[in-house]
């Protein structure tokens, strides 16, 4: 299994050049900052110089003393101050300015990710810097058995396939899986020619009876004393919100001990992209076309996870593959809850084919859906009520999300306003419901719209300038 590592990510669009990260780094490291924000091409653009902890670090290959080496566990290029002879050859190896001279000691200095908890990230007020831990997740789960066959025939860039494979790796072999009609069985998870596409028992219920069948299976396992099996569904939004809803609602109301994962791609995608109850207002689908008179769907989506929370299930949560750590946490809690009652996990799943998103932009779309509050991340238990796991404060306008998605290309200003109002209304409602529960980690402040014109020749050199000059 190849290596993957956690990384400090930089979102330039959020950076307003405040320089807090550099101040913090310089303080923590007692020397020059190892992260350098420099003025970019326009007045409000900023660029970053930092060690990228390369996979094949050229700094290390040109070092004559053996002072630099990539750590196999953390991926950090470590610097051994005893071995280093200060020749500075490493600065010739690096194309990013990631290892540079600290003038206070006339030695090289580089980012070490603060041992896995980078101070710069914590000090960034806008969220432009983020410590992404997908690498750790990959290392933890990458070696675990993939419980689907290779070569499922999902579309290029399919987010649902990602969700299935991740979820089952985490859940493991001790599961019985229902995959009602939809993309998930359609891409081959139920198998061909009498063989299943999974390495766990899988079956293909009707759209209408998934939750009922699972309830029966769980009761049988309870009867024979098998308490260790995860009885679960990977279902689409149609089978959950529309034609299967009565079964889901009934099972939830009865408190059946089931893990029900709804993979919401906002429509009946495998049969030709028809609208469903979770298709958002304004969306193009094949049954809500865009033409002279019709301009996409005219009704709002129902908020299924909120409806499930109203069932007082043992556990309800929303999740997105743009936020993997959050998704994995919620999977843990959902699995545990499914041995005690109904656990419902709603995972939003942008569909490159049906939504008209380039396949390489799907995860970007996931993240943007959350950053605009189009999707909110929260969880519910009867004891704690609803609790945001990511703050909905300081969200971007929904246009930032909508413009990434082809199915919204036709939207008029009126329709955009409608969507924004709907998003605001949903968030306001969730806020009321979440008022009693502990707050999520605070949101980042939005970038200052007009920062000091750092690119110009100001007479007062900023800290940024000092540091970047070495």
């Amino acid at each position: 299994m190849g290596a993957a590592f956690d990384t400090i990510a930089f979102k330039a669009s959020l950076c307003d050049g405040c320089g807090d990260c550099m101040t913090t780094c310089a303080e923590v490291k007692q020397g020059a900052s190892r992260i350098d924000i420099v003025p970019g091409a326009t007045e409000n653009a900023f660029e970053l110089a930092i060690c990228r902890q390369c996979g094949d670090p050229k700094c290390a290959m040109v070092c004559p003393s053996g002072a630099l080496a990539k750590d196999g566990g953390s991926g950090v290029i470590g610097w051994d101050s005893d071995k280093c002879v200060d020749c500075l050859l490493c600065t010739a190896g690096c194309a990013f300015g990631g290892i540079a001279v600290d003038p206070s000691v006339a030695r090289v200095a580089k980012c070490d990710q603060c041992g896995g908890d980078p101070a710069c990230v914590k000090s960034c007020p806008t969220g432009a810097l983020e410590f992404r831990k997908a690498g750790s997740l990959y290392r933890e789960y990458g070696d675990k058995e993939d419980l689907f066959v290779p070569g499922l025939s999902g579309c290029l860039g399919c987010n649902s396939e990602l969700i299935m494979r991740h979820a089952m790796r985490k859940i493991g072999r001790n599961a019985v899986l229902a995959t009602p009609p939809g993309c998930i069985p359609g891409m081959g998870s139920v198998g061909y020619n009498g063989k299943t596409g999974t390495k766990v028992p899988v079956f293909h219920p009707l759209l209408t009876n998934t939750a009922s069948m699972l309830a029966g299976i769980r009761r049988y396992y309870d009867k024979i004393g098998r308490k260790d099996i995860v009885v679960m569904a990977l279902a689409g939004d149609g089978g959950t919100a529309d034609c299967g809803f009565h079964a889901v609602s009934g099972a939830a109301e009865r408190g059946e001990k089931i893990l029900y994962i709804c993979v919401d791609n906002e429509g009946y995608m495998n049969t030709g992209m028809q609208r469903s109850g979770t298709t958002p207002y304004g969306s193009w689908t094949s049954t809500t076309p865009v033409g002279e008179h019709m301009k996409g769907k005219t009704q709002d989506a129902k908020n299924l996870p909120m409806i499930m929370a109203a069932h007082k299930c043992r556990y309800v949560a929303t999740a997105s593959t743009g936020y993997m750590e959050d998704l994995y946490d919620k999977l843990d809690r959902a699995i545990e809850a499914s041995f005690e009652g109904f656990a419902y996990l709603h995972i939003y799943s942008p569909c490159p084919t049906g939504w008209r998103i380039p396949s390489n932009k799907v995860i970007d779309a996931c993240r943007m859906s959350v950053e605009t509050n189009f999707v909110t991340l929260w969880e519910y238990t009867p004891a704690t009520g609803i609790r945001f796991t990511r703050s909905p404060d300081n969200a971007l306008p929904i246009t930032a999300y909508v413009k990434m998605i082809g199915k919204y290309r036709h939207l008029s200003q009126e329709q955009l306003d409608h969507i924004q109002a709907k998003v605001d209304e949903q968030v306001a409602l969730l806020r009321i419901m979440a008022a009693e529960s502990p707050p999520p980690p605070p949101a980042h402040r939005p970038p200052a719209p007009l920062s000091a014109p750092a690119g110009s020749d100001s007479s007062q050199p900023s800290l940024r300038r000092e540091i970047s000059r070495n």
Binding site: A12, D36, V38, P39, G40, A41, E47, L48, A49, R52, D56, K58, C59, M61, V62, P64, S65, G66, D82, K83, V85, D86, C87, L88, L89, T91, A92, G93, C94, A95, F96, G97, A100, V101, P103, A106, G455, D457, R465, S468, R469, N470
Partner: protein, 416 residues
């Protein structure tokens, strides 16, 4: 006869990088690294620090035995190659053993070039290229008072500083009119020269050595200069340059010029034989002509390309040509240079002496060289600007005013 798919001769930067790039593509092909050294790999560049005592000889090794085991490569020390039979695909060693190969890398680096000075064969002198040399020089320093260094290149200056710091009286003789010729322009060199003078090192620049002569029963020697002066030395260090270590290739059919001739993917003129590093004569980025650029960054880059070619890696890219790079420390200070940093003709030069000294050389609004004293910059970033011939027209003013900041910005934009 031992038989391997990949045989690497030499165990320094070029060979190590070739190993890495072969393993990137071919994890299992049998491999051996044979080397003249008795030790695990180390870099010649570390030697001044062994001479000064800052680095302990056993703490400068670049790889351990476990590395070779993990990479399924046999490491064969004390194995000096003496001949290559390209038809039989075998390399003969001094101990009589032969190794057969399917693909061979010549990475034997360079050896000190001894100038044809009259009497040189009659006196005891030191060179600095191997750990043994370094340890020999270090112990000789202990019992000496007057040192003469021939050559004011990197090796000569490093050793001169070591010896001056150890309390010896040191003279450096250099034929050219400035130290580190080629890397720095006169203004930069003068700053370095002043530092040496301030530390008591006598520099004899623009000065030729006519002859050396043993004195004191061979315990010391006299160095006769062109201008008639005579320097007394109980320690003589010859550091007048290096020549590629190609002796063992005589008669092999591998075509040699000043070094082993290679094409743009480091192949020699003989099938299945590659060469990389100081031993190879590849091209110069600036002129496109064959050149010897004996520095670690070129050794590493050539090693990588050779390794890719040897392993059949389809991502092989042609060598763009070597760019001179010098990161030099003297008495704790910093001197850096990359590219055509000393060029004067047909280029646009911007010098700045506000803090330290920096000299930017542009041609057609593109960076072609950069040198500085006491004002560090990101050598790697400037190297990319030079290599990619990045058009700086749009940012020229800020680049000239704040080259480090602007360089970082440009590279961040490139790599977003």
């Amino acid at each position: 006869m031992p038989d391997v798919k990949y045989l690497l001769v030499g165990s320094s930067h070029a060979a190590l990088e070739a190993l890495r790039s072969i393993r990137h593509f071919d994890p299992d092909g049998s491999m051996a690294m044979v080397t003249r050294d008795a030790q695990l790999p180390y870099s010649p560049t570390i030697l001044p620090y062994v001479v000064s005592g800052r680095s302990k000889p056993d703490a400068v090794l670049l790889r351990d035995q476990a590395f070779f085991e993990a990479n399924a490569c046999a490491f064969v020390p004390n194995a000096t190659a003496t001949g290559l039979d390209a038809k039989a695909r075998s390399v003969t060693l001094a101990n009589g053993q032969s190794w057969r190969y399917q693909r061979l890398l010549i990475a034997t680096g360079a050896a000190p070039a001894i100038p044809p000075v009259k009497g040189i064969e009659t006196v005891r002198f030191h060179v600095l290229r191997s750990l043994d040399d370094a340890q020999g020089l270090r112990s000789a320093m202990g019992g000496s008072r007057h040192a003469v260094v021939l050559g004011a290149g990197l090796v000569g200056l490093h050793a001169a500083e070591n010896m001056a710091e150890a309390g010896l009286s040191v003279s450096v003789v250099e034929m050219q009119s400035h130290v580190l010729p080629g890397y720095f322009d006169a203004k930069a060199s003068e700053r370095i020269e002043a530092a040496f003078t301030a530390h008591g090192v006598k520099l004899h620049l623009g000065c030729k050595v006519l002859a050396v002569e043993a004195r004191d029963g061979g315990h010391s020697c006299a160095v006769h200069l062109e201008d008639g002066r005579v320097l007394q030395a109980d320690l003589l260090l010859v550091a007048t340059g290096v020549k590629p270590a190609t002796d063992w290739l005589a008669g092999s059919g591998v075509q040699l010029d000043r070094g082993v001739l290679v094409d743009e993917t480091m192949r020699t003129t003989v099938a299945d034989v590659w060469a990389a590093g100081d031993v190879a004569q590849a091209t110069d980025f600036h002129t496109g002509k064959p050149a010897l650029i004996g520095i670690i960054p070129t050794a590493v880059e050539q090693g990588r390309i050779a390794g890719q070619g040897m392993a059949g890696d389809p991502y092989l890219k042609a060598y763009p040509g070597g760019i001179p790079i010098n990161t030099y420390r003297f008495f704790g200070r910093v001197a850096l240079s990359i590219g055509q940093a000393a060029a004067r003709d047909g280029v646009e030069v911007s010098e700045n002496e506000d803090d330290g000294y920096r000299r930017l050389v542009l041609s057609d609004n593109r960076l072609v060289g950069y040198a500085s004293i006491d004002e560090p910059f990101d050598v790697g970033i400037m190297g990319e600007l030079i290599r990619r011939k990045v058009d700086l027209s749009a940012v020229k003013d800020s680049f000239i005013a704040r080259p480090v900041e602007t360089g970082r910005r440009l590279m961040s934009e490139q790599w977003r």
